[in-house]
């Protein structure tokens, strides 16, 4: 890698972040030059020429104080607004993003494609397509950082965090862990490979064919006896999971929650936290019985359960016996 003074712009947001940077650089450079120049000028122009000099006291100027409070404040508000708007877009993945699942542990990145490919410390993705990472850690806090994409997101044990990007330039880009995590923190890096779509398809279908995440999830669903309660004909003790993913769920305490990845994970590991309206808190916890990767497989499985044909449910889930 050659010596650079500025990172490559390889994601759809990189250029915008850099423009924001240049604006701030310009403002910072301006004020730096103004202050340095003023000090230099005043220090020379008004240098002490004799020991008994006594300058006329000048106590202040309210108009000046107002000017140099309001103008910087105004500039700050521009910085804030622009930065917040970039941040907002950085944080809200588009709906059609390609889902990738990341489990971090000391000191490696485990990445899974829904089609089943597993990668360690490497991620192959197609150019031009939004990619959404759903991430968790098995141990301490890590952070998924790709400088070329200008994205970073801490990866926290006990919950999911997400980040997304659209790569715009094929190539190979550093992946770093950016949250100190112990002995081999600086070794916990890797590469993002951005490929042309046809190369990506070729890569996907090459290698050892294995089950997709959803297929593995289905096996787990059966092995752990989830199917005994979560029956797909609605007669089970527990809610039917068909068509659940992405819907709003009404809870026993009256509140509503969206059935996203985090909700599914919580329901598996801490089922008592949110009880669906009309059901009893009877689900045992699977903490310790299923790994984080297992949870991701189960999530993909639940995602794969399409809407129940002919049931005509709009929102929420039907309680047993209500149909």
């Amino acid at each position: 890698m050659s010596f650079r003074l500025f990172p490559v712009e390889a994601s759809s947001i990189s250029a915008e972040v850099d423009q924001l940077l240049f604006f701030l650089l310009a403002v910072a450079a301006f004020f730096t030059v103004v202050i340095f120049a003023a000090i230099l000028f005043f220090a020379i122009r008004y240098r002490r020429r004799s020991d008994n000099e006594l300058p006329r006291p000048i106590h202040g100027s309210i108009p000046l104080e107002i000017v140099w409070s309001v103008i910087p404040f105004g500039l700050s508000m521009v910085m804030f607004t622009w930065g917040a708007s970039v941040f907002f877009r950085e944080r809200r993945p588009p709906d059609n993003a390609l889902p990738i699942y990341v489990v971090a542990k000391q000191w490696m990145w485990k990445l899974q494609h829904p089609e089943g490919q597993r990668e360690i410390n490497e991620l192959h993705i197609p150019v031009g397509r939004p990619v959404k990472l759903t991430m968790t850690s098995e141990d301490v806090i890590h952070s998924f950082f790709v400088p070329a994409f200008r994205t970073k997101q801490d990866v926290v044990p006990g919950r999911y965090t997400t980040t997304w990007f659209t790569a715009i330039k094929p190539g190979k880009y550093h992946l770093f862990c950016a949250e100190y995590c112990g002995n081999n923190h600086s070794g916990m890096g890797g590469w993002i490979y951005v490929m042309e779509p046809q190369d990506y398809e070729a890569w996907l279908s090459g290698g050892t064919p294995g089950a997709t995440l959803a297929e593995n999830g289905q096996k787990l669903f059966e092995n752990l006896a989830c199917a005994n309660c979560h029956k797909s004909d609605g007669t089970g003790r527990c809610p039917d999971l068909t068509g659940l993913f992405g819907k709003d769920v009404k809870l026993a305490d009256g509140s509503t929650v969206k059935a996203d990845e985090g909700y599914i994970r919580e329901s598996i590991l801490r089922p008592e936290a949110k009880i669906v309206a009309g059901y009893q808190p009877s689900m045992p916890t699977f903490q310790g019985l299923v790994t984080e990767e297992g949870v991701l497989q189960l999530i993909e499985y639940v995602k794969s359960l399409g809407p129940n044909p002919g049931a005509g449910q709009a929102e929420g889930l039907a309680a047993p016996g209500s149909r």
Binding site: I39, R48, P57, E65, S76, A84, F87, T151, H174, N183
Partner: protein
């Protein structure tokens, strides 16, 4: 005055002899010196760690020390520099020494609590030194959980205890200062006649008193979790590791204002004295100090933009972070405006003041970058942040400290330091500092993460520049150590007011008598009133 006469007069230095008279002193001036020795000692320990870090980073592949050791080095560098050097530095040395003098008091409100504060710092320091000698601690000075509570195999408990104890040193100093400023001002010393150095320390004291206890209880919770294996921040028991970050930064962000406000107070004194002019906008500078202290408590979440905090919280904290930048900007403009039509001297303290204003401006402006959500996502946890806070803490706070030390050295010791060497070392420090830390902004934006023992080859050139700068900086810091000690024996004798400054501390002898003033002053003039201070006046401006 001949040397013989100066040595006969009773001063706080010769008023009692022997170790006991120092270790059991109640004199704020002696306590200030006790602190001076202690923090200087810790500064050089932290400096040794920094040297080793920079030496290791000369090469991308990590040959000097193992990863385990490197992780301990940056942790201990941070712990020592933040808790045992920067937080106490100016308040406990210059503040202790000069706050009572500046307001015309004979001592602080609670001298024995002042001495207790020093002992607490020393005891805390001993815990930390024990941890270092016994094998070190490797959690980072920020102790993020669950690494610090459940995974690290190093001396976390000893270090956390040391910081806990040192925290009480800081709380008690703040308490002492608040009560002193409220209750011990001499007749005529109204709030708005106080030197800005006092305002700055008052604002600092507010933070010390309100913020440090939260760190204390957070450390207690971490200690409980680590010692008794209970889960408060442990995700396996439903605990939230990010809660630790909120609690930690609730103190540690205001803590950075503990580190910079006193230096700003010093700069106000220096700029005024060496322009021979009242600080432009005295009221605005005074209120800005308090505003920084108050607003500083509202922005801690800007350390958590990528930690999993909600979008909305991120927006709120970014917005408020821009607010806290404004009072600092106001101060910089006011100091610069003070120079206008002043009578500018280039004495060493003023050179440090110039350095401070320039470097603090750069450091503060880069704060705007990290407060900016869109940019911070990229630069947080990289060397950009490292450069940002070193510009403020080293380019700002330490230069303010050195400037103050040079300025008040004649008053503290009765001796002048050698001006030529002092100017040279100020220049060496300025150049060394910039060479060390400016490349780190570039490194950070390129994507070089923090706390990395090994790194990709393409970052090496910038690291080499940075290490080169660090070696220059190290020389720059060693020089004052040598010539200050030299001056104790061979420096020119200083009179009461070698700088022809205003301020009550310059009206008493150098060094001051034990009781500060022969007669308690009665103040009738405004702060920074130079009329009548120089003999035959030559009006300028």
């Amino acid at each position: 005055m001949t040397t013989a006469v100066a040595e006969e007069r009773e001063t706080y230095l010769n008023a009692g002899h022997g170790v006991k008279s120092w270790l059991l002193t109640k004199d704020h001036k002696r306590i200030g010196l006790l602190y001076l020795f202690t923090i200087t000692f810790f500064f050089f320990i932290g400096g040794v760690f920094a040297t080793l870090i920079r030496l290791e980073l000369l090469s991308p592949h990590g040959n000097l020390v193992s990863s385990e050791t490197y992780n301990k080095l940056f942790t201990m560098h941070g712990v020592v520099m933040v808790f045992f050097f920067l937080i106490p530095s100016i308040p406990a040395t210059l503040g202790n020494f000069f706050l009572p003098l500046m307001i015309g008091a004979r001592d602080l409100a609670f001298p024995r609590i002042n001495l207790l504060s020093w002992y607490l710092l020393v005891i805390g320091g001993l815990f930390a030194i024990f941890a270092m000698v016994a094998g070190g601690v490797d959690t980072g000075w920020t102790f993020y959980t669950p690494y610090s509570t459940s995974y690290s195999n190093t001396w976390v408990i000893a270090t956390a205890l040391g910081i806990f104890v040192a925290g009480f040193s800081s709380i008690l100093t703040g308490l002492n200062f608040i009560v002193t400023v409220h209750r011990m001002r001499c007749p005529g010393m109204t709030w708005f006649r106080m030197p800005l150095f006092v305002w700055a320390h008052y604002a600092t004291a507010l933070i010390q008193v309100l913020g440090t206890p939260v760190l204390a209880v957070t450390l207690v919770l971490v200690l409980c979790e680590r010692m008794f294996h209970i889960g408060i921040f442990d995700p396996a028991l439903g605990g939230d590791p990010v809660l630790f970050q909120h609690l930690f930064w609730f103190y540690s962000h205001p803590a950075v204002y503990i580190m910079i406000l006193p230096a700003m107070g010093v700069i106000s004194e220096l700029v005024s004295t060496f322009s021979r002019k009242a600080i432009f906008g005295y009221g605005f500078v005074a209120f800005s100090s308090v505003a920084i202290a108050v607003l500083g408590f509202l922005v801690w979440g800007h350390h958590l933009f990528v930690s999993g905090q909600s979008l909305f919280a991120g927006m709120v904290f970014s917005f408020l972070s821009y607010f806290v930048a404004i009072p600092s900007a106001i101060k910089v403009f006011n100091w610069t405006a003070t120079l206008y039509k002043g009578s500018i001297s280039y004495a060493t303290p003023m050179l440090y003041a110039f350095g401070f204003i320039g470097l603090f401006t750069i450091g503060g402006l880069t704060g705007l970058f990290v407060a900016c959500l869109g940019i911070d996502v990229h630069v947080t946890d990289t060397y950009f942040v490292v450069a940002h806070f070193h510009y403020i803490m080293v380019g700002g706070a330490i230069m303010g400290y050195l400037g103050g030390l040079h300025y008040w050295w004649p008053k503290i010791t009765g001796r002048m330091y050698p001006e030529g060497w002092a100017k040279l070392s100020a220049l060496v420090i300025f150049l060394g500092f910039n060479l060390t830390f400016f490349p780190q902004f570039i490194l950070g934006y390129l994507g070089m993460p923090r706390r990395y023992h090994v790194y990709p080859d393409e970052f090496q050139v910038l690291h080499v520049l940075s290490t080169a700068g660090a070696s220059v900086l190290a020389v720059g810091y060693l020089m004052p150590l040598i010539y200050f000690m030299w001056s104790l024996k061979y420096g020119a004798i200083a009179g009461r007011n070698p700088w022809k400054a205003t301020g009550l501390e310059w009206q008493t002898e150098s060094p001051p008598p034990v009781h500060n003033f022969d007669e308690i002053p009665i103040v009738t003039r405004e702060a920074y009133d130079y009329s009548g201070t120089v003999g035959q006046e030559v009006q300028v401006g």
